[in-house]
């Protein structure tokens, strides 16, 4: 009876977490590890490993095929291009500390699409084979170019069977025509809400007047468009962040129940202002306290709240095929199923690649919307975008759940071959997965309740937390 390779890592108690390449996991002790490593498995070990999907009798039998299926489903296969991020202008009416790289002043000329760019973008969209399209407008402040948004929207509506348009706006200046547009059924709003009023003002709006205007607009958006059409993210510096409770209360007061915590981004000019290079530990501590606060909140409240990325990681632990989020995929092949078109018509595989190029670190562009896609650089990155055979990840029990972010590595370290455990990406994910397993193996009813809510099941069953001895 062959047993698939198991990777392991010490857990909080004297036990170890074991996991295989398809993401099957369990907890056991050092004695089992010894028997496994020395080929001395007992019949009860074998029975357990078989039942839990780590062993099979012959190649092609159902246990083997089931393993193959779960393994294959964990690999991300890029679809056809059906998602484009458009940056019609870099101009912005705010000057947030962490965003210097992706903005210029509202009055600066030369940072908008011109008619030729717009025409080329429309032509490019027309050339896509997808039946449905998702378009995300970023900036700068895209609402400064309502005219462009309207033209692209009109084109997409008649060209595709369905379109979804997301506008990433700071909700600072929204005039009547913009509100009309935002109220249309295929338009969605994504905005920044940096935790609470004080932090939002410090990091973004600066003056009381600016802050008042933002919160009034958010209030209006929630009541007129409905909270389901609005998503908001807090970008926080863990050293200067509001308490988790303040963040949760602020978000709940606008009916937003999913909070996607983002650390202040290290890239670009922002690195001069914020010391983010060594901040993984500080961020991990803040993030962990945030999860604690959510567990407390969910225990006593009717209204469940989640941290979006943590829930995504939890679901990646529990199931195969959960590859819907661009930030955590394996292999993380970029430049195929979605693209960014910058204010000057240059094409990038991701928004981060755009920043890396803009600050002059590396040129990660992949052509120009007028002359066409040239994927050579990105293709050579994509070759490395798989964690299955990475010399560090190959020993990590979290490998099947985790992913790769080479652009982040380049941006932080200027290279992609740093030992994994030294990277911010690995440190953040190791911490998240350690926490997830601590929760899975906890018998605290509060934690169990939150796990059930976040896994989507009515209750969290003990069969999802097997311990073998």
């Amino acid at each position: 009876m062959p047993v698939v390779p198991l990777k392991f890592r010490p857990h909080t108690d004297e036990l170890l977490i074991f996991a295989d390449d398809a993401g099957g996991y369990f907890k056991s002790d050092h004695a089992f590890l010894h028997r496994y490593a020395c080929g001395q498995l007992t019949s009860s070990d074998r029975a357990f490993l078989t039942a839990n999907g780590h062993a099979y009798n012959s190649v092609g039998d159902l246990a083997f095929s089931g393993f193959e299926h779960r393994f294959a489903e964990r690999l991300y296969l890029p679809r056809e291009l059906d998602y484009v991020i458009l940056v019609p202008t870099l101009r912005c009416n705010l000057a947030c500390g962490y965003c210097q790289v992706s903005r210029v002043n509202e009055t600066t000329p030369g940072f908008d699409w011109n008619d030729v760019t717009l025409e080329a973008v429309i032509k490019f969209l027309d050339s896509l084979s997808a039946k449905k399209i998702k378009v995300e407008f970023q900036g700068g402040e895209p609402l400064l170019r309502l005219d462009i948004i309207t033209k692209v929207r009109d084109f997409c509506r008649q060209r595709f069977e369905a379109c979804e348009i997301v506008i990433c706006t700071n909700l600072q200046e929204v005039d009547a025509p913009a509100w009309d547009l935002l109220a249309e059924p295929d338009i969605f709003v994504s905005t920044s809400l940096d935790g609470n009023r004080i932090t939002h003002q410090k990091q973004r709006t600066v003056t009381d007047r600016g802050t008042d205007r933002f919160f009034a607009n958010l209030e209006f958006a929630v009541s007129h468009l409905g909270p389901e059409k609005i998503s908001a993210l807090p970008t926080l510096d863990p050293h200067r962040a509001p308490t988790p409770h303040e963040v949760i209360d602020t978000y709940l007061s606008y009916g937003i129940r999913s909070i996607y915590l983002r650390p202040v981004n290290h890239q670009g000019f922002a690195r001069k202002k914020f010391d983010a290079r060594t901040s993984a530990a500080a961020w991990n501590a803040y993030h962990a306290s945030f999860i604690d606060a959510l567990i407390e909140h969910n225990w006593s409240s009717e209204v469940a709240v989640e941290e979006y990325y943590f829930v995504h990681c939890l679901r990646r632990v529990l199931r195969s095929g959960h590859n819907g989020h661009v930030d955590l995929r394996n292999p993380n092949i970029v430049g195929l199923s979605y693209l960014v078109i910058d204010y000057d018509g240059k094409i990038y595989p991701t928004d981060e690649a755009r920043m890396v190029t803009r600050v002059g670190q590396f040129d990660l562009s992949m052509g120009d919307v007028s002359t066409g896609v040239s994927p050579e650089t990105i293709d050579s990155l994509n070759v490395e975008a798989l964690n299955n055979f990475h010399p560090d990840c190959v020993h990590c029990p979290y490998q099947a759940f985790c992913g790769v972010d080479l652009v982040d590595d380049i941006s932080r370290y200027g290279r992609i071959d740093l030992p994994k455990h030294l990277t911010d990406f690995c440190q953040r994910h190791m911490s998240i997965f350690d926490r997830i397993f601590a929760m899975i193996y906890s018998d605290d009813p509060k934690i169990q309740k939150t796990l059930a809510l976040w896994s989507g099941a009515p209750r969290f069953d003990p069969l999802l937390a097997k311990v073998h001895r």
Binding site: G24, D461, L464
Partner: protein
Amino acid sequence: MIDLRIKVDPLPIDEPLIVRLQAAGSPAQSDSDAILTEVEGDRREYELNGFSFAVYGANDTLDGDVLMMLPGTTTAHRLIRAGSKHNTLLVTEQCDQLCVMCSQPPKKYHTDLFEQFALAASLAPQGAMIGISGGEPLLHKDRLFRMLEDVKSRRPDVGFHILTNAQHLSTADLDMLQRLDHERILWGVPLYSATPENHDRIVGKSGAFANLERGLALLMRAGASLELRSVVMQQNWQDLPALADYVSTRLSFLTIWAIMQLERIGYARMNWRETFQDTSTEFEQIARAIDVATARGLKAALYNFPLCSVPPAYREYAPSTISDWKRKYLDFCLNCRAQKTCGGFFEWYSAPEGFASLGPL
């Protein structure tokens, strides 16, 4: 209950005949179209290629329905009711298993009507999903496969939901299975326990579990769509959580896992006392199975459960599934706010022997 048989004046035929009934004045679209010419009381007269015949007694519309008339009999089978989503072709009554709760106990002899069924399916309304049931359809797999290919070439929009015990698939069928349209064919395959002996005992065939594993592995390899069907009984009640675990490690490719209540007919009626599990008073094992499957990202559903028998947290898993023609509601359902979404009971459900804890929501 809607009658699936209908009285006809016998026709002078010596082969089974498939006809599609069409409203008065509609143009015949095929040689099988019969056009309504006259209605008199409960008698409707149709014309088919110059011949006329009459059908009696149906009180709903028959437009678009497909009938099968058999030589020398005065009843026709309403194979396809155009207005219903619950049309099933019973392609054979033979079976190699003998399940304790079989609702359609097997018979020894087989009448081959595959050609007629293929014609009937190709006359179905646009986009129809047609059930194929038995007995065990794969006992005649060559005929069945030919029928599926035949209908696919004529009517690619028509889909099939095939109920099979998956005992009779072999690697030689892989090509064939791969050629079928996985969007339009759903394989409904029963599995009752992850403990081989328990499954074998329930289906009355030793070695069935091992065969089933081979069949399921083939379906997976072919890329087929699977509806796994697990009827809940006293015999497998304790096995459900472990079954959920088995399903999530072996069968994560499935489209849906149907956890099903018993249909009190056939052997299930005979063995009711030692088989029926009253899930209205005790739900825990099902709850656990759903908890595990859902956390693992699998779609689980409760088939044939009256909504009020299910604890509130699990009601969203219980769609209305009992076929329209054999569905009924009880007196107290009149006052229930959930009747629209509740599937009610099988026609042959018996309240005194059934769920102990029910009542309007």
